[in-house]
């Protein structure tokens, strides 16, 4: 294994350790005061974000101009397509029903209408981000397949 690969593997491991350790400690965290939970969650979130950022920088250094072309194309159109996709999905009654039933189901357990509004907002936000990510990945693969296809 090259040193470059070893560095990337180490950062990937670090990126996974933070959220996994947080999930494993959930039973213990339930018995801790709020300050400890927030501190633990803050450290885990910061560690994950920092290691993800470092990995992104390392990955970026490996890209040649062709890959950058793919990234530029997919990012430019993926954000727009993903946002548009969610807007279109909102027009489908089945999707709207799924979102409202999910949020009200979660909020019933929380027992507050304020919570329901917050969950609905968060779910909508997450749906947009996920749709954009999906579109970016699909467009990236599409661009690469189109550009690298062999001549007949």
């Amino acid at each position: 294994m090259t040193s470059d690969r070893r560095i990337k593997t180490a950062w990937t491991g670090l990126m996974l350790v933070f959220p996994v350790s947080f999930l494993i400690s959930l039973p213990w965290l339930k018995e801790q005061p709020e300050t400890v939970v927030h501190l633990f969650g803050g450290i885990a979130a910061t560690g994950t974000v920092v290691s993800s950022f470092v990995l992104a920088v390392l990955k970026d250094q490996d890209l040649d101009e062709w890959h950058r072309g793919a990234a530029r194309f997919s990012n430019q159109w993926g954000w727009l397509a993903g946002g548009g996709l969610v807007a279109i999905l909102q027009g489908i009654p089945a999707f709207r029903h799924l979102v409202s039933s999910t949020t009200s189901g979660i909020a019933e357990r929380a027992g507050s209408s304020d919570q329901q509004i917050l969950f609905a907002f968060l779910l909508g936000f997450m749906a947009v981000i996920l749709a954009q990510m999906l579109c970016i990945v699909l467009l990236n693969h599409g661009w690469r397949a189109w550009m690298s296809r062999e001549e007949p």
Binding site: D64, E65, W66, H67, R144, M147, S148, E150, E151
Partner: protein, 64 residues
């Protein structure tokens, strides 16, 4: 932009992967450049010209 990379490469018996390794890019880059779907940057065009021992204008042409 058109080019004659495929012909030059064939003359020298180089694979796309070989040329890609020589100029420090992915094989996909070479495939796309050869097919005229992707225009290389000026530094990459110079690097390609250098490995063939030719001038840029002897390899790359405007589309008619």
């Amino acid at each position: 932009m058109k080019n004659k990379i495929k012909v030059l490469r064939a003359e020298r018996g180089w694979s796309q992967a070989t040329l890609a390794g020589m100029v420090g890019v992915s094989r996909n880059s070479i495939v796309s450049i050869e097919n005229g779907r992707f225009d290389p940057s000026l530094p990459l065009a110079f690097a390609i010209a250098d490995v063939f021992g030719l001038k840029i204008e002897e390899i790359f042409f405007r589309k008619a």
